[in-house]
């Protein structure tokens, strides 16, 4: 178990920088999520930490030791791939034992460790099966057991849930998070799904175009976004951003309610005309435009299913909506968050 630290990692493929200077500190035992859209460089960055790619410049430290140029096996890291990367021609037992055998761990020790890891993950009854005979959930557990058995310095996961269908995803998410909490290994988890990120991470690093936009706990990322990108990337439906006074004003759909429902002294009012609404059972999403702002820009409001009189959201009419001032976020012209009012 170790802390992972990077100093200004840059990775260029030809002329194009995939990773453009990332400095990140992940303390020992933390579950860090790298969140970002496709192509933002998060997977490349993860592979650099693993040792499957070499950075063009910058330093990487694991457990305080500089590991640039050292292959994965000497860094002590373990990685879980998108399709788990189980060895199809080995039994489950051999899969889990493999990392130990390559390090020439004596046989008795290997057996002990394999038993321990497989019990921890509840797969000791599957040890003699082949990967193709296992279900998706079982395969994930085998992959975790294999990663765990060498007691790695860090566990790296590359979008392991993206191949699962929605239903399995939630339970798989649970398993991974519980596993990590029990075992306490430093974990770095890559995903483009912000629900996963918010649900699993101790801290989240939001990455765009090879650079970290913000690092923080889920509530910091959500309530205190550092710039427009983070503000609109996290949260569904995304934050509404309108241009005003030479800068930008942002408010989340769940804070944008009919004026009568906002119980606060300091509020900002808007005239809102509903164009379309979606009833989703647990909530109601309403789409419309604000008076006095860009008529092409669609503004979203997320309303509770009940408590809203139909008259407020009849399409075509203008109604007063409002946002608590404390829920407003201001951004200056280049997108950075500003504190001024």
């Amino acid at each position: 178990m170790a802390a992972v630290s990077t100093r200004n990692i840059v990775k260029k493929f030809g002329e194009v920088p995939a990773v453009n200077g990332i400095s990140l500190d992940v303390p020992d035992g933390e579950f860090m999520v790298l969140l970002g859209p496709s192509g933002c460089g998060k997977t490349t960055f993860l592979r650099i930490i693993c040792g499957l790619e070499q950075q063009t410049s910058g330093d990487l430290l694991i457990g305080g030791d500089l590991v640039n140029g050292i292959p994965p096996r000497a860094r002590g890291v373990a990685m879980m791939f998108q399709s788990y990367g189980l060895y199809p021609h080995f039994s489950v037992r051999h899969n889990i034992a493999f990392p130990l055998r390559t390090q020439r761990v004596p046989s008795a020790e290997v057996d002990k460790k394999v038993a321990w890891a497989s019990q921890l993950l509840g797969i000791d009854h599957l040890l003699d099966r082949r990967p193709r005979q296992l279900s998706g959930g079982e395969r994930q557990r085998v992959a975790l057991a294999r990663a765990l058995v060498r007691e790695p310095t860090a566990l790296l996961l590359d979008e392991p849930l993206s191949n699962l269908d929605a239903k399995l995803r939630t339970s798989a998410r649970q398993e991974i998070k519980q596993f990590q909490q029990r075992v306490g290994v430093t974990t770095i988890y890559v995903t483009h799904d912000q629900v996963e990120a918010m649900g699993m991470g101790d801290r989240i690093a939001v990455i765009d175009r090879g650079q970290v936009r913000q690092v923080g706990t889920p509530s910091e990322i959500y309530d205190d976004p550092a710039d427009r990108f983070v503000a609109t990337f996290v949260g569904a439906p995304p934050m509404n951003i309108v241009a005003r006074n030479g800068g930008y004003l942002g408010f989340r759909p769940e804070n944008f309610l009919p004026k009568d429902m906002v119980k606060d002294a300091a509020i900002t009012e808007f005239k809102f005309r509903v164009d379309r609404s979606e009833y989703l059972g647990s909530e109601r999403i309403v789409y419309g435009v604000l008076e006095g702002f860009d008529p092409q820009q669609v503004i979203t409001a997320k309303l509770p299913p009940a408590h809203v009189a139909d008259e407020w959201i009849r399409p075509g009419e203008w109604h007063p909506f409002a946002v608590r001032d404390s829920a407003l976020r201001h951004f200056d012209n280049d997108g950075k968050r500003s504190r001024r009012h």
């Binding site: 693993c50 040792g51 499957l52 292959p71 994965p72 096996r73 890291v77 373990a78 990685m79 791939f81 998108q82 399709s83 788990y84 990367g85 189980l86 060895y87 199809p88 021609h89 493999f98 990392p99 390559t102 390090q103 294999r146 060498r150």
Partner: protein
């Protein structure tokens, strides 16, 4: 409706007619080969006998002659030795080469791969002249070992290219997992890539063997001593006494030499095709 049925019958008949056409076109010479091998000489060399079937009873005399009175068994043995040696040389060179090109060398690798493959297209009828001088220089003229040296020049490019296709179809994740788990790059190649592409490797072995059996030009160029000839060259050129072709024996020999190759092609054709089209064509 009778009209629809009539057209259907016409369609079906012409379809099966076409099938029969292609069947006869492709297979007749082999039928001819088979029948000739079993026909007695009297039956064979007669202009009045109906050639398509036996007039006199079938006989094994040609096969007996082949095995007793000619160097046929020697040629079989030669071909076997050549095939095994060339396949071994090819595997040892092409396996790591193909893996390297498939996994390890980006842009340059592509160009190099194409380059190696293109050498397969350099015709033997161009290289045989200088190669005959090289072989003479090595003191291997008129020996079947000259073929063991020369055949890899086309089996290596061909197999490297085939194997590249098979390796590229293997998911990289498994090798990467092995690397993370403690294998060296070469270890991942040996422990993961090779076991997982055994079907492909087997296909390559079979096709290499058939390539060596099929070859004619180099064998013709380098070997004239009868006991050094591989089977194809032997059957095609050596069963002649003076001006007389021993057709019965020639066909018998051709039959025996062709059967394993034909079987191999049929068993492995599908794999071969997917290897050739590099998995790009499913």
């Amino acid at each position: 409706m009778p009209r629809a049925t009539a057209t259907r019958v016409l369609q079906e008949t012409s379809f099966y007619g076409a099938v029969a056409f292609f069947l006869v076109l492709a297979a007749f010479p082999f039928y001819w080969m088979v029948i000739t091998s079993f026909k007695s000489n009297a039956d064979l060399y007669s202009v009045t006998h109906i050639p398509f079937w036996f007039n006199d009873p079938p006989t094994l005399e040609h096969f007996r002659y082949l095995f007793d009175k000619t160097l046929f068994t020697t040629w079989l043995l030669n071909s076997l030795i050549i095939g095994v040696c060339v396949t071994a040389i090819t595997l040892v060179t092409a396996l790591p080469g193909a893996y390297s090109l498939a996994r390890m060398t980006g842009r340059n690798g592509e160009a190099l791969g194409i380059g190696i493959f293109l050498t397969y297209l350099v015709p033997p009828t161009l290289l045989f002249l200088p190669l005959s001088r090289v072989i003479a220089g090595l003191g291997l003229q008129n020996s079947m070992w000259s073929l063991v040296v020369v055949y890899p020049t086309f089996t290596i490019p061909f197999c490297t290219w085939l194997l590249m296709g098979f390796f590229k179809a293997l998911p990289v994740e498994i090798e990467e997992a092995a690397i993370v788990d403690g294998c060296s790059l070469f270890g991942a190649f040996v422990k993961m890539a090779i076991p997982l592409s055994l079907p492909g490797i087997l296909t390559v072995v079979i096709f290499t063997f058939t390539l060596t059996l099929q070859e004619f030009v180099y064998a013709l160029t380098f070997i004239s001593a009868s006991d050094q000839k591989p089977i194809t060259l032997g059957v095609a050129t050596d069963l002649i006494r003076g001006d007389i072709f021993y057709w019965g024996e020639i066909m018998a020999g051709a039959l025996i030499a062709s059967i394993p190759v034909a079987i191999a092609y049929n068993l492995f054709l599908d794999r071969f095709i997917s290897g050739i089209t590099g998995g790009a064509v499913k």
